[in-house]
């Protein structure tokens, strides 16, 4: 890997990759331009830019926001995602540290169960889980956070365990000799060292929960709460037919927060993915 080798053929490939990148973002751009077009034009001429005949300004957005109650859905999605991720991070990291440090038959089987739960497809538990969640009155945004903790625990515990194993025991032992109880040890010694793992678990769980459709669809009380994916899916047929205008506008509104989030913490996201993958 010498540096002069690095620069070879640079421009040609740059141009090639630039074209490829343009192609890559094109679908999103097309959705964006279509969101300003009259709905009759969207399906028939998706690749034309809005012109004086087809331009409708923000009409689709207004209609879409009304139909989907978008801001409510956004609030619900945000609350569920932030709440669940926070709870998952705190609870599972504590759990992971505990089961790694206290190795016995019970903790080992917990660990195995967590690993096992990662491969189980959601369809396996979808009916029973939604029924149990209903019986325990977990059909609201607060309750679903608890469901996410349960169903998301596997991956998180697994990743935290992987990291805890690499933390040298000596520091913790020293802290204990200083008179710290396990809670203090965890929050003062272990917690700070695990920061990178928190970020990567947090990113992975955020990506999952924010975009999840089926679990909230089955668990939430739909007459009161909808998340963004549910609201968008409901646009298809919820009013007798697909309103492509409103659909385009809602797709744009659904993508914007993701792009903002991505731009704001791109570095962490990419690092998180790598770390998550290497451990997973």
């Amino acid at each position: 890997m010498t540096s002069e080798k690095k620069q070879k053929g640079g421009w040609g490939l740059t141009i090639f990759l630039s074209l490829f990148s343009v192609l890559y973002v094109l679908p999103i751009v097309i959705v964006f331009t279509n969101s300003f077009k009259k709905k009759a034009f969207i399906n028939r001429y998706p690749f034309t830019l809005p012109d004086s005949k087809s331009f409708v300004g923000f009409e689709n957005y207004i209609e879409g926001i009304r139909k989907t109650d978008f801001f409510n859905a956004f609030g619900t999605s945000l609350f569920i995602t932030v709440g669940s991720v926070a709870l998952i991070l705190v609870c599972t990291s504590m759990c992971a540290w505990y089961i790694t440090r206290r190795s016995n038959r019970f903790t080992r089987s917990v660990y195995m169960l967590c690993v096992f739960s990662m491969v189980v497809p959601f369809q396996m538990v979808m009916f029973t889980l939604s029924k149990i969640a209903d019986m325990l009155r977990l059909d609201n945004p607060l309750g679903i956070i608890f469901v996410y903790l349960g169903f998301g625990a596997g991956l998180a515990v697994f990743m935290f365990c992987g990291f805890v194993k690499s933390i040298p025991l000596e520091i913790e032992e020293a802290a204990m000799i200083d008179g710290c109880n396990p809670l203090q040890i965890f929050f003062k010694v272990v917690f700070p060292v695990m920061k990178p793992t928190y970020i990567s678990v947090g990113i992975l769980e955020t990506m999952w929960i924010w975009n999840d459709y089926l679990l909230p669809y089955l668990v939430l009380d739909l007459k009161k709460y909808k998340t963004i994916p549910i609201a968008i899916q409901y646009l298809k047929g919820g009013y007798g037919s697909i309103d492509w205008g409103a659909m385009m506008a809602m797709l744009v509104l659904a993508i914007i927060p993701i792009i903002v989030f991505y731009m704001a913490c791109q570095k962490h996201i990419i690092k998180g993915v790598v770390a998550g993958a290497v451990k997973g």
Partner: protein, 443 residues
């Protein structure tokens, strides 16, 4: 700093134990659902949860519910299932603790599946308001469903365009004449400035019910008539060739190539019709609201023709009239919720606000005693239906309420689409229709 952390840790632990305990508490109370009923926030007043079947009227129902809540303080939730997902939504919702208190079945077949959940409405005020027992879904003496809307469908047409082409509705009296007119219009579509005789027969889930259910009613109706029956375990498919003829007509004299049908939506067909790109549009009285909203066709410009399929004696055939919208009350709901629901239903069909909303805002013909005079909708399509009855034509019954299952409809719909596209042939439709009927009736 050290203290801070300690406090924080303790607080966290407290929160988590609390949440854990809350989970336990929930578990304990749920095992005795009857006892815990008093603990819900609404108390003894009861509430209504209406799972609405008609997406076309979603907004109107929500508005009406809001009005009711303002007047009485009783919460009414209206949830509308997306097109084609009613069974699915009902199934997942009814399993919940807060299940719908008011839901719909589409007729005897729907009732068979949901009977265990249906409250006997025989002693209720809503039932007493019903004009006749024909509109009730009965099993023995028990009344399980009440039709709240009577609807009519046929081929809606654009009078102006039809006249421009040199015809009137009187020229169309049977399948042969319908085909002649449609073929002629299709041949001259450029001259007439239209895209096709029939609006696209879209097979997207927002539109496919027009063909797999409503159009398929005709061959079933004629077979029942011929055999003098009202339901059957094994359909013979006597009139399937006629079904093919009318379907062929729809997809040939159409605004679009048959290969595009799979993603054509209900909206597409509607917009073709209201923009004057098509002359004929198979749909029903419920479509009037959408036609009116588009504001391109005046009321006297639209009419409705019977769907002729070439059966003998069809010159005397009228439009297809019936109901597939029966209200059922969930008998497993809490008693106060059942009462609240019955009160709400009564209010809908007896109060000024309710009657106005149902008749003029939703455009329904309702089979209740109070719906007379100003509470008859000013819907030209309904007027057309009434005219046929006045002319002594025989209305076609809604036999599709006896179709074995949603699965059967889907099977027929899929086969119809494949046939239209050219990726399958008609024998698949016959198979789905006849064999599918037998299998699904057995299931």
């Amino acid at each position: 700093m050290k203290r801070m952390n300690k406090v924080l840790a303790l607080a966290l632990a407290a929160v988590m134990t609390a949440s854990a305990l809350a989970g336990c508490g929930g578990a304990a109370s749920s095992s005795t659902p009857a006892a815990s009923s008093g603990s819900t926030s609404t108390g003894a007043k009861g509430q209504v949860y209406y799972l609405n079947f008609k997406p076309e009227q979603a907004d109107q129902w929500t508005a009406l519910a809001k009005k009711y809540t303002e007047q009485t303080g009783v919460p009414v939730n209206v949830v509308t299932a997306a097109s084609g997902t009613y069974e699915q939504t009902l199934k997942s919702e009814i399993a919940k603790t807060e299940a719908p208190t008011l839901f719909q079945v589409n007729g005897p077949v729907g009732l068979a599946a949901w009977k265990d959940y249906c409250y006997d409405l025989s002693g209720t005020d809503v039932y007493k308001e019903l004009k006749s027992d024909d509109f009730a879904l009965k099993d023995g003496n028990a009344v399980y469903g009440i039709a709240y809307v009577i609807e009519t469908y046929g081929i809606i047409y654009n009078k102006t365009l039809l006249e421009k082409a040199g015809y009137t509705a009187a020229d169309i009296t049977n399948f042969a004449s319908l085909k002649k007119v449609a073929d002629d219009i299709q041949a001259r579509k450029a001259e007439l400035g239209i895209k096709g005789a029939f609006a696209s027969a879209g097979m997207d889930s927002s539109s496919d019910w027009r063909f797999k259910t409503h159009l398929a009613n005709l061959p079933i109706y004629y077979e029942y008539q011929k055999d003098g029956i009202g339901d059957t375990e094994a359909i013979k498919g006597t009139y399937l060739d006629n079904y093919k003829n009318i379907w062929d007509l729809y997809i040939t004299d159409s605004t679009c190539a048959p290969s595009l049908l799979s993603s054509k939506t209900g909206d597409d067909a509607l917009s073709e019709f209201v923009l004057g790109e098509a002359v004929f549009y198979q749909n029903g009285t419920w479509a009037y609201g959408d036609i009116q909203k588009a504001d391109t066709l005046k009321d006297d410009e639209i009419g409705m023709l019977p769907i002729y399929i070439g059966a003998e004696g069809e010159e005397n055939q009228g439009l297809c009239t019936g109901s597939e919208n029966y209200w059922c009350v969930n008998k497993n709901a809490k008693p106060e919720d059942i009462q609240a629901t019955l009160d709400f239903m009564k209010w809908c069909v007896t109060s000024e606000e309710g009657k106005t909303a149902l008749s003029s805002e939703m455009g329904f013909v309702c089979p209740f005693k109070g719906f007379t005079g100003e509470f008859l909708p000013s819907n030209p399509l309904i007027a057309a239906a009434d005219q046929y009855i006045a002319d002594g034509k025989t209305s076609v019954l809604w036999c599709f309420t006896t179709m074995p299952s949603e699965e059967w409809k889907n099977g027929v719909g899929n086969a119809l689409l494949e046939y239209a596209q050219g990726t399958g042939d008609w024998s698949a439709v016959t198979k789905a229709f006849v064999d599918g009927w037998a299998t699904e009736k057995k299931a």
